[in-house]
């Protein structure tokens, strides 16, 4: 029973990791932008839920509406960031780190000025308040919703990358930017769209997180490290590594936390990651490209 319960806890924690890392797998993994403001894009998504609940009284409707709206809101913030700053910094990952970190501080303060320092709370719809009981197993409905959202996001993203012409272009630019450009692909526009999708996914993650924790100006900071870990360990340049690693880390975390407590669990996870990176510095999967960058 405990094993089944922890299995589910691991899966649901993995789903959270996957949601917060998925956007980053695009912007960092594919575009090599170290976006420290990713956490604040998550925050923007969470505040979107709060704002929508002011307008739409039904908690369920506003949550469902919030998924696409948060995607667009965070996506637009991401595009603004790309156009105003990051475009000038491609190929200089360390500079993007500093600049986006500054941007994250600005966005946090902006949220504090707009919404106030205290946390905001949203009402969870009644159909997410309960839990599904399977014998001794309790599956919180909110966790199942997050899992569904994460899997939906992965499915739509891989469809986008594999089956659409936009996806082909994105993969072409990742594979070899110069060759893509000479073949007539407008790489600048592709970058912008990629960044829009990656940032938008952060917004969707923000929607999910309102079901778990607080909506506050500094909420993003507690997720950014985990998100980077997943992408780095999963390997840059493709999605499946991030997906597998999100669930693997979620599982490892859930079991060791149950067995040894949160502090030791963190140590175990980090040691495992360090050991893994020693063994496979390129991450779980890596993309071989012919680009020189």
């Amino acid at each position: 029973m405990i094993i089944a319960n922890q299995l589910f806890t691991g899966i649901s924690f993995g789903a959270v990791l996957l949601l917060i890392a998925l956007g980053l797998a695009l912007t960092f993994g594919q575009m090599n932008v170290i976006n420290m403001a990713h956490g604040e894009l998550i925050m923007a998504g969470a505040y979107t839920v709060y704002m929508l609940q002011q307008v739409i009284t039904s908690a369920g409707v506003s949550l469902l509406v919030a998924v696409p709206v948060a995607f667009v809101v965070s996506g637009l913030i991401g595009v603004a960031l790309e156009i105003l700053l990051l475009r000038r910094l491609y190929g200089r990952p360390l500079d993007t780190l500093l600049v986006t970190w500054g941007v994250s501080l600005v966005l946090q303060q902006a949220a504090r000025d707009i919404f106030g320092a205290p946390n905001k709370q949203t009402t969870a719809p009644s159909w997410l308040a309960g839990a599904v009981e399977l014998g001794d197993l309790t599956l919180p409905a909110s966790r199942l919703f997050i899992l569904a959202l994460a899997l939906g996001a992965v499915a739509s993203l891989s469809l986008l990358l594999r089956r659409t012409s936009l996806g082909r272009r994105i993969r072409a630019v990742v594979g070899n930017r110069a060759l893509a450009e000479t073949s007539g692909i407008p790489t600048g526009r592709v970058d912008r769209v990629t960044f829009f999708v990656g940032s938008g996914l952060a917004g969707v993650a923000g929607v999910a997180l309102t079901l778990l924790g607080a909506i506050g100006p500094s909420m993003g900071t507690s997720y950014i490290i985990d998100a980077f870990l997943v992408v780095v360990v999963g390997g840059l340049g493709q999605l499946k590594g991030s997906v597998i690693m999100a669930f693997a880390l979620g599982m490892l975390n859930a079991f060791s936390e149950y067995q040894y407590g949160p502090s030791v669990a963190k140590v175990i996870v980090f040691v495992a990651i360090v050991a893994f990176i020693q063994w496979r510095p390129q991450g779980l999967f890596s993309v071989r490209t012919r680009s020189l960058a």
Partner: protein, 418 residues
């Protein structure tokens, strides 16, 4: 063409400059230990018809949810004191600094308030980690800090006045209450820093002496929001009650996830020592209804002094704003300092300290009295139950103010702690 390279050149230079500044700060603090005896008392700027008071609270970061309200209530006390003529004929000018939920920042800003602004006293701090960082700064500079939050005890700095509860005024009455309700097994959940860890040490000593069993103990870093494994553990351990010492944003996540696995106030009640009215509002009453808290003051505490306090606070900050224990303790601390200064007839720190013994104030929580030896105040303990609307109503109180005993000298079971 040159711009990027110049930017690159500037960055290391900036970092270097920052490092030099930081190193300077470090050496100043470390040299304090040796020269503390000979250091001159902090100079207070009493020229002119105003005197400055420092307000040091986290206005950003994970603790802002709580500390902003403390700052508001300190400002209310300043306004009221100024409206009634100030202190020793001088109006108070508040100087506010942001501790940013970062403990070294508290120490740095405290030093700035003392030596640059030359304030008469500093009011603020919330987490014990921030207080522990500020303590040497105040002792070195011989300046006063008024600390308004309940804490883990085992401390009595000559330069700090503690207007929140120490252990025997909050945690022990909370445990007494659980014991009287027949709770035999406890699960401890806390944030990972000095207050929860010390408090839980005391709780474990109490449990051992009172026939209670601790069935689990877990800590999460401040601000962490992943509690699914912990709530699973609580559910599997089936304790009679949970003792919650979580602080800040983590509480929101803990409560949402606690409820989501079907744990309720009926089956597994939780007693919290860091959730007051403001936090209850931010966490959401739907998650908290029926759960217990241990404090010395609630917004619903009866009495004329509290009615006046609540009315004044809501007039200044909005009719929907709740008042809470730390806010009340902060408000009280400003008045206690005023009374000490007036009794001393001077802003001089040593004279103010000497005047502290026996100072009383008709506080919203009831009359409080300063203990001049350990710098704590006597307070009535109150156990409350959170309602469906987020207000907290008292279900038990200690009947009379409990004398502060920060080192738990009057409790035999606590002999091994200090």
């Amino acid at each position: 063409m040159f711009t990027p390279s110049r930017r690159h050149a500037l960055l290391p230079a900036t970092l270097l400059a920052a490092a030099v500044v930081l190193a300077g700060c470090g050496s100043k603090v470390s040299s304090s230990g040796t020269s503390a005896a000979s250091a001159p008392a902090a100079s207070i700027d009493t020229a002119g018809d105003t005197v400055k008071v420092g307000l040091l609270n986290s206005l950003s970061g994970t603790m802002a949810i709580s500390e902003v309200t403390v700052k508001n209530s300190l400002l209310l006390a300043v306004d009221e004191i100024n409206a009634s003529g100030g202190v020793l004929g001088k109006k108070l000018t508040p100087v506010s600094e942001d501790g940013a939920s970062d403990w070294p920042t508290f120490a740095e800003k405290a030093g700035k308030l003392i030596s640059v602004d030359k304030v008469a006293a500093v009011f603020g701090g919330w987490t014990s980690a921030s207080r522990k960082q500020m303590l040497p700064v105040f002792e070195k500079n011989k300046a006063l800090l008024f600390y308004p939050v309940q804490y883990e005890g085992l401390e009595a700095s000559p330069y700090i006045f503690y207007s929140g509860a120490t252990t025997n005024q909050q945690i022990i009455p909370g445990l007494d209450y659980l014991k009287s309700q027949g709770k035999k097994t406890l699960y401890l959940v806390g944030s990972d820093y000095v207050f929860p860890r010390t408090a839980n040490k005391e709780i474990k000593a109490y449990a051992a002496a009172n026939g209670m069993t601790i069935v689990g103990e877990d800590y999460k870093p401040l601000g962490n929001t992943e509690f699914s494994a912990i709530v699973d553990k609580v559910k599997a351990a089936k304790p009679d009650a949970v003792f919650n010492t979580l602080n800040g944003d983590s509480n929101v996540a803990f409560w949402k996830q606690y409820k989501s696995v079907g744990l309720t106030a009926d089956t597994t009640p939780v007693i919290s020592v860091s959730i007051a009215e403001e936090e209850a509002k931010a966490i959401g009453p739907q998650y908290l209804a029926g759960q217990l808290t241990a404090w010395n003051y609630y917004m619903t505490t009866p009495g004329a002094a509290n009615e006046k306090f609540v009315k004044a606070y809501q007039a200044k900050y909005g009719a929907d704003k709740p008042t809470s224990d730390p806010m009340e303790a902060a408000y009280v601390s400003m008045y206690l300092w005023k009374a000490m200064v007036e009794k001393a007839g001077s802003f001089d720190v040593e004279k103010v300290k000497a005047a502290a013994e026996g100072i009383t104030f008709d506080a919203p929580e009831g009359t409080v009295t300063v203990d001049g030896t350990n710098h704590h105040i006597s307070k009535t303990a109150r156990i409350g139950k959170i309602g469906t609307d987020g207000t907290i109503t008292e279900v038990w109180n200690s009947g009379q103010p409990i004398k502060p005993d920060p080192f738990l000298k009057t409790y035999p079971w606590a002999a091994s702690l200090s």
